[in-house]
């Protein structure tokens, strides 16, 4: 019972995150949405870890948190560079290359 609630929460977070990645125009918000998904994953991992009494889920979650930090660092740098060259962070307008 308990587990299901965690899982549903994670699924909802996941979906919100996916929606954000696909629908939001602002690059920074898209990054945040990705973080949402990662956090959904973390909830899952920790919940499962507790349920199965296995430590590796928590370890996994720690790794995810650490890596997410690194990713966001890189991501923000890229968004910054985008802003420099394109004078916008609206991802819809960054479509020079296509086809």
């Amino acid at each position: 019972m308990l587990l299901n609630q965690f899982l549903v929460l994670a699924a909802v977070l996941f979906c919100i995150g996916v929606y954000g990645v696909i629908a939001r125009k602002n690059g920074v918000l898209v990054l945040m949405s990705v973080e949402l998904i990662l956090n959904a994953v973390n909830i899952n991992l920790v919940a499962f870890s507790a349920m199965t009494d296995s430590i590796s889920g928590q370890v996994f979650a720690l790794f995810v948190i650490a890596v997410a930090a690194a990713e966001v660092g890189v991501g923000l740098a890229i968004v910054l560079a985008i802003f420099r060259t394109h004078k916008t962070v609206d991802l819809d307008q960054v479509d020079l290359m296509k086809g």
Partner: protein
């Protein structure tokens, strides 16, 4: 010599190569090589003929023949067997035919290690049968089998395809005819085409033709016949197109070759059918024997003979496929004489005669009253004769005359008169060559063959040509008793009366033959009038004409002489007083008696001399020639009847024709033939038949263009390029999915993953 006949075609073949190689450097441009080779061939052909005659007469090959061979270049083992054969043959005098045959073949086996034993068995067996049946049948002469000598040409798939020579009366005769005419034409040509820019090539191809023709007539297998058949066609092509700078000439050459190719389809199919019918053999003896014995299904024989008839139709200028022959007159005249009158065009006749049992059984010649071969021949003979009426070109007259005469031969074969056909072939070759060379002699200076425009009154300036031409004409008309044509044509007509179911013979053939004879006389008389009588016109009036030199005149004289005496080799019993030894000598010598021929077939027979036929045909001459004489010389007859009311005339004919030949003559022959019928026939010929031929050609080209444009470049290539374009187009469409917007990509990614998961959950559970 009979077993060494292979040398004969080899000589002109070598001569061909030699002329091409060194001809231009020789003082006479290579013609000397050609003449020498053909002369040697002629001598050898005579040797073979004498050899055969002796073989028939006493079953023993003549002595001393080796001496004449000693100068020939042969490998040691090639000459030796003959000596042995001779020696052995002397021992076997009692069982003459059998002995000879066996030796001929057995020695061959010694000579040719490659020869299969199966063939030996066949040969021996057939020799035995021949002599046995000969005795039973009580024939007055011994059954004499052909001398066959062959070797493996190639093996393929378990079939032993052989090549060799087959010497019997028929092929000996052909050897003599071909080499004789060829020799005379060679001599004639040295003057006639002198100064021609391709003089050397001309002689080279004459040599090649001679070689091919000799190869053809000596064939021991049908595949070899095909080879020879096509090779003579090639030479015909090359020589018709000799002056290829002018388009009409090359057109004519193409037409000849292509029309012959149409017939060749029949030849190939027919020969293939016979090959399998004979259990996988091209061997002529085997095929004919099996046909004779009824070992081949009748339906197969029928299809084969009908197929082969197509070939005859094209090569021998029979009705429907004859149109190339008049066009072939575009070639030099001596070529016309040699190829398109005397030799090549009779290849079809020869082929039928060679494979006669196939036709005899296949078409039920012995028992029917009508058959395709006879119809084809008789229609051709009349049609050709009618067409000859409206020609103004002397060579075309002769060409149509040739078609008509070939029709006689085919008809003769169709009604079962084998010997008559071959006899006519023989005499026709001589007198038609005489006529053609005569026309060449006439045109030598004026360079025109137009009788109406450029000739006339030439009997005065060219008396020798005139005389020989007249003799040739007489032979063609069949002036009784003295000319060769009479005897041969008479035998055909008699033969048409001989066989057939219920003893009725082939009545229509007789009628057609007589009508043809009348026409023949009339058109030849007309030609004589235009050429030799009246006042000189056109070029012959403008130029100072004189008789030609000896190289032209002497061959003419020889041929004219032949046109008279050639008939006396086959004088039928009871016609004129003639030594019994020489009566039907030709038949005796030429007609095969072995099991590979129909001689033993009870349905087969020989015509006897019928005085009434002779009289009627004489009447035909009188009518035909007389009418033409009256018409042209005397200006008699209803000139201009064609302008009058034809309907009335038709009714008049219907009413009046029973009153007699003169009415028939007036309305039908002089008025009708000269007028509407001949013209209609010519119109049909030029527009319908020839048109058809041309149409076929044009249609093929048009179809080709259509197919190429729409099917090949359109549909097929289009489909291929289309699939390329489709792929490329799909690429263009799919390219649109690459929008450049990262979130579109993101949605693809997620939707893709979700769909995949959904689909696979369904599939995998």
């Amino acid at each position: 010599m009979l077993t060494h006949a292979w040398i004969i075609p080899l000589i002109p073949a070598i001569s061909f190569v030699l002329i091409l190689a060194i001809g231009k450097k020789l003082p006479r441009g290579g013609s000397e090589i050609g003449i020498a080779s053909v002369a040697i061939c002629f001598v050898l052909a005579l040797t073979v003929a004498f050899g055969w005659v002796s073989r028939v007469n006493d079953g023993t090959p003549p002595e001393g023949r080796q001496s004449s061979q000693s100068y020939l270049i042969t490998e040691g083992h090639e000459t030796r067997p003959v000596t042995e054969a001779d020696a052995e043959a002397e021992n076997g005098t009692d069982a003459a035919a059998h002995g000879t045959e066996a030796e001929a073949t057995s020695t061959d086996h010694e000579a040719e290690a490659t020869e299969s034993t199966e063939a030996t068995a066949t040969e021996d067996e057939h020799g035995t049968e021949t002599s046995a049946e000969g005795e039973e049948g009580g024939e007055e002469h011994h059954a004499t089998s052909a001398v066959v000598r062959d070797m493996t040409w190639f093996d393929s798939g378990g079939f032993d395809i052989r090549v060799g020579t087959m010497v019997d009366g028929l092929s000996s005769l052909m050897l003599v005819v071909v080499t004789l005419i060829s020799l005379l034409v060679h001599v004639f040509s040295t003057d006639y085409v002198a100064g021609d820019r391709r003089y050397t090539h001309y002689f080279a191809f004459l040599s090649l033709f001679t070689a091919s023709m000799l190869f053809f007539v000596l064939s021991s297998s049908t595949i070899q016949m095909i080879v020879g058949w096509e090779l003579v066609g090639l030479c015909s092509f090359a020589l018709i197109g000799h002056w290829w700078e002018e388009k009409p000439n090359s057109d004519a050459a193409l037409k000849a070759f292509l029309t012959n190719r149409v017939g060749d389809v029949g030849l190939l199919c027919g020969m293939i059918i016979l090959f399998f019918a004979a259990n996988g053999s091209f061997d002529i003896v085997r095929i004919t024997e099996m046909a004779n014995e009824g070992a081949i299904r009748h339906s197969l024989l029928l299809i084969a003979s009908l197929s082969l008839m197509t070939a005859v139709m094209s090569k021998s200028g029979q009705f429907v496929l004859h149109t190339w022959l008049p066009d072939a007159m575009a070639g030099p005249t001596p070529v016309s004489a040699l190829i398109h009158a005397a030799t090549m065009v009779v290849a079809g006749i020869y082929m039928v005669a060679r494979l006669y049992p196939v036709f005899f059984e296949g078409l039920s010649i012995g028992t029917g009253n009508i058959n395709a071969l006879a119809i084809m021949g008789s229609v051709t003979l009349l049609f050709g004769a009618l067409l000859a009426f409206v020609q103004s070109d002397i060579k075309k007259v002769l060409a149509y005359s040739t078609i008509s005469q070939l029709g006689y031969m085919v008809m003769a074969l169709g009604v079962g008169a084998w010997t008559a056909a071959i006899f006519h072939l023989f005499t026709h070759a001589i007198f038609k060559a005489c006529l053609f060379l005569g026309s060449g002699s006439l045109a030598h200076h004026i360079h025109s063959f137009d009788m109406k425009k450029d000739m006339g009154g030439m009997r005065k300036v060219m008396p020798k040509t005139y005389a020989t031409f007249l003799i040739g004409t007489a032979a063609l008309m069949g002036v009784p008793l003295v000319t060769a044509g009479f005897w041969s044509k008479d035998e055909i007509l008699a033969g048409a009366h001989m066989l057939g179911g219920g003893g009725d013979g082939y009545p229509f053939a007789i009628v057609m033959g007589l009508l043809g004879a009348i026409c023949t006389c009339a058109y030849m008389t007309r030609a004589i009038w235009y050429v030799f009588f009246g006042e000189p016109r056109g070029k012959s009036a403008e130029m100072e004409l004189h008789e030609n030199g000896p190289r032209i005149v002497v061959p003419l004289m020889i041929l004219a002489f032949g046109s008279i005496v050639a008939g006396f080799v086959n004088i039928p019993d009871g016609s004129i007083p003639w030594p019994a030894k020489w009566q039907l000598w030709f038949e005796h010598m030429v007609e095969p008696t072995g099991t590979y021929f129909v001689a033993t077939n009870p349905d087969f027979g020989h015509p006897s001399f019928l005085p009434w036929v002779a009289v009627v045909s004489f009447g035909a001459i009188v009518v035909g020639a007389g009418a033409a004489y009256l018409w042209y010389w005397k200006g008699l007859g209803p000139h201009g009847i064609t302008e009058r009311n034809r309907f009335a005339r038709a009714g008049y004919v219907v009413l009046e024709k029973k009153y007699g030949l003169d009415i028939l003559y007036t309305d039908w022959i002089a008025g009708g033939v000269k007028g509407p019928i001949a013209r209609a026939a010519y119109w049909i010929n030029q527009n319908v038949i020839d048109g058809l031929v041309n149409l076929v050609g044009r249609t093929a080209a048009k179809t080709g263009q259509w197919v190429y444009r729409y099917v090949d470049q359109g549909a097929i290539d289009g489909a291929v390029n289309g699939s390329g374009a489709t792929a490329s187009g799909a690429g263009e469409v799919l390219r649109k999915t690459q929008t450049g917007k990262v979130q579109t990509y993101g949605s693809y990614l997620f939707v893709g993953a979700a769909l995949l998961a959904a689909v696979i959950v369904v599939i995998a559970s």
